[in-house]
């Protein structure tokens, strides 16, 4: 295969805050892994108490179907996300990467930016994190940068709104 002349999309320059990994871990624990592990524990407890005979086949089944996937998710998802999530404010456009298995890179020019919001969820607030949402006229063009530190989020919102005012455009 000859060297390809086509330029490629590089990842955005700035990573999100390292504390985001902890936030994603807590989120995974609350939404996916925690409930699954509870179900597994309840099943095993019931089996030990009432159906000891079922344990030899139930325990491996629970391990493979519930415990391993939820622990794997808990360990892999935050790290993987942290490796993918990134953002960059260019001269003409905002650029953000997100996701972990399914990954998304979105670029919206500053001339189309309509509003910039910084939102802090309850768990995010504990870790001093925020999510910045940049909306455009099209819902398919909204950019979400999750897991920024508070200071970064504020700074970024300010810089995006400043830049959006400088770059001419009708935001439609």
């Amino acid at each position: 295969m000859p060297a390809d002349p086509r330029p490629q999309l590089r990842p955005p320059r700035h990573r999100v805050d390292p504390k985001a990994r902890r936030w994603w871990t807590v989120q995974a624990l609350l939404v996916v892994s925690g409930p699954l592990l509870l179900v597994a524990a309840a099943l095993l407890a019931l089996s030990v108490l009432f159906f000891p005979g079922a344990l030899p086949w139930l325990a491996p089944l629970v391990l493979v179907v519930l415990v391993l996937p939820s622990v794997g998710y808990l360990i892999a998802m935050p790290r993987w996300r942290y490796a993918v999530h990134a953002w960059e404010l260019g001269e003409q456009a905002v650029y953000a990467a997100s996701g972990w298995l399914w990954q998304q890179r979105r670029i919206a020019p500053l001339s189309r930016v309509q509003t910039v919001d910084a939102v802090r969820g309850p768990v995010q607030r504990r870790y001093g994190l925020a999510t910045v949402t940049v909306t455009t006229a099209s819902t398919a063009g909204d950019i979400k940068i999750a897991g920024l530190s508070d200071a970064d989020a504020e700074e970024l919102s300010r810089r995006i709104s400043d830049a959006a005012q400088v770059v001419p455009g009708d935001a439609s």
Partner: protein, 505 residues
């Protein structure tokens, strides 16, 4: 414009008085269901039904009262600058929209409205989606509504009407495409479902009616190899008739024309008449849609990609520019709406990996579960019939999946044609979309775990119109960034870097 402005442009105006009668239509439903229940039970309505009927009646009386209050407290005004609507019972609300922000004016009349000579006027502004971006006046006399529309759209430049403003009109030979739409089968079940719901609401259980039971027992006892095909044939015939009726109701008197240099108008409808006006500046492109059946018959539909048509559901209803019609006509209409030839240039094919992915997806999602389920059931019950069913299903479904995957792969394609981005995809619904390149507001590159290994990426072009996001699925990952840069300069360039010297596939 001046003549119509005399009768009090600038004064607050009321909705038409006959609107009161329109609101009373809601009383029809409870009265009807009470009558139906009384009829079906011979006057002996059970208590449960009485309660249900009472609740229905109360709800509908509340709706009627709401409508009456709405009429009494709504006023509107048009002056040279803006359209203003004042409404609300306790909280008075005044909404003012500058006329130059109004992007489309839509007149709709339900059968009840038409009986009374009324119509509903909706003015849509540029904002996308939310209900706040729309003002509706329910209802006005048809003549007043048309005059009001001229007033609202008076700012529009009407100097340069195109040479032939008429783009397309109904041709009843297109009716042959009606049975190729969803309504053939879906219509029968929709009608049956609605009927049983209505009967159920009135306290009648359809399967207890004597003639239904007799029909069922006779159906079961007679020769199935004759009655089952007969039943299917009957469904097909009824469905086709239904599809014809739906087509005629939707597209009666269909006309697509430029009312002036900047306004494209669609008029259609038999019982419910519909008239949608789209401003040219808001028309961002067109979609030629070919559902599988329709495509097999050589037909296609056309939809507009336009802003200001309301939320997703409204947009689906209002964006139709052409009913199912021959494909050549669809291309012609799309070109007429874009006022440029619909650029069906040679599309850039997608990598072979896209074909493999479609095959695998079909085999894993459609063939495998069915075969496994049948085989396991067959093994458990040691039933030879089920085991045979498993391999027959596997064979037939595999062939179908291979054919569909090939078709889906052949449909894939994208290219740049003059000021338009052209993208085609889909097999059950093949959509060919032409998007104005300068209207693209953002680019998204989506990859899946398997897609990254196969070297494909899904590109999404965001526009503030139509379905908002238009996808180019499974494009070549190496080519995609530079393609996006070429389509809309000034978005992705600054994030591009030269490819590393050996980019292994």
């Amino acid at each position: 414009m001046t003549a119509s402005a005399d009768d009090g442009s600038g004064d607050w105006r009321r909705l038409d008085r006959r609107t009161l009668l329109v609101h009373c239509q809601w009383l029809g439903a409870p009265l009807g269901s009470i009558a139906l229940a009384a009829l079906a039970t011979g006057g002996q309505i059970p208590t449960g039904s009485w309660i249900a009927l009472g609740c229905i009646a109360a709800a509908f009386v509340a709706i009627t009262l709401g409508g009456l209050v709405h009429w009494a407290r709504t006023e509107f005004r048009v002056d040279a600058e803006a359209l203003a609507v004042r409404s609300g019972l306790f909280t008075r609300r005044l909404r003012t929209v500058p006329l130059r922000r109004i992007r489309s004016v839509d007149l709709t009349a339900s059968p009840v409205h038409r009986l009374l000579g009324l119509t509903v006027l909706r003015a849509g502004t540029a904002g996308s989606g939310t209900g706040l971006s729309e003002m509706s006046l329910n209802a006005l006399r048809v003549r007043d509504a048309e005059r009001l529309r001229t007033e609202i759209l008076a700012h529009v430049d009407r100097s340069a009407v195109a040479d032939d403003p008429l783009v397309s009109r109904i041709n009843w030979r297109w009716l042959r495409y009606a049975p190729l739409t969803f309504w053939v089968i879906g219509g029968v079940f929709t009608v049956a479902g609605a009927a049983s719901r209505i009967l159920d609401g009135a306290g009648i259980q359809a399967w207890r009616l004597p003639f239904v039971r007799r029909a069922f027992s006779e159906f079961g006892s007679s020769m199935l190899w004759l009655t089952v095909p007969a039943l299917l044939l009957a469904i097909l015939v009824v469905g086709s008739l239904g599809a014809l009726v739906v087509y005629a109701e939707n597209w009666w008197n269909y006309r697509l024309e430029w009312t002036d240099a900047r306004m494209l108008r669609v008029r259609r409808g038999l019982l419910t008449t519909r008239s949608v006006t789209i401003e040219r500046d808001r028309l961002r492109g067109a979609v030629i849609r070919e559902p599988l059946l329709l495509r097999a018959g050589g037909g296609a539909q056309v939809r507009a990609v336009a802003g200001g048509l309301g939320n997703r559901e409204d947009n689906r209803r209002r964006s139709a520019l052409l009913p199912p019609a021959p494909r050549g006509e669809a291309v012609r209409v799309a070109a007429g709406a874009l006022q440029a030839p619909f650029p069906e240039a040679d599309l850039i094919a997608h990598p072979r990996a896209a074909l493999r992915r479609r095959r695998t997806r079909g085999l894993v999602l459609a063939v495998l579960p069915g075969v496994v389920a049948l085989a396991v059931l067959g093994a458990v019950f040691s039933s030879g019939v089920l085991l045979h069913a498993a391999w027959v299903y596997g064979l037939v479904a595999t062939l179908a999946v291979l054919w569909l995957a090939r078709d889906a792969y052949r449909s894939l394609g994208h290219t740049i044609a003059g000021p338009y981005l052209l993208a085609r995809s889909g097999t059950f619904h093949r959509d060919t979309v032409a998007l104005q390149r300068e209207s693209i507001a953002a680019w998204t590159f989506t990859t899946s775990p398997l897609g990254r290994r196969a070297g494909v990426v899904t590109l999404t072009a965001a526009v503030a119109a139509g379905e908002e996001g238009y996808r180019i699925p499974d494009a070549d990952a190496v080519e995609a960034p530079s393609f996006a840069a070429e389509v809309s300069p000034g978005i992705v360039e600054e994030f591009l870097e030269p490819a590393p010297t050996s980019s292994g596939g």
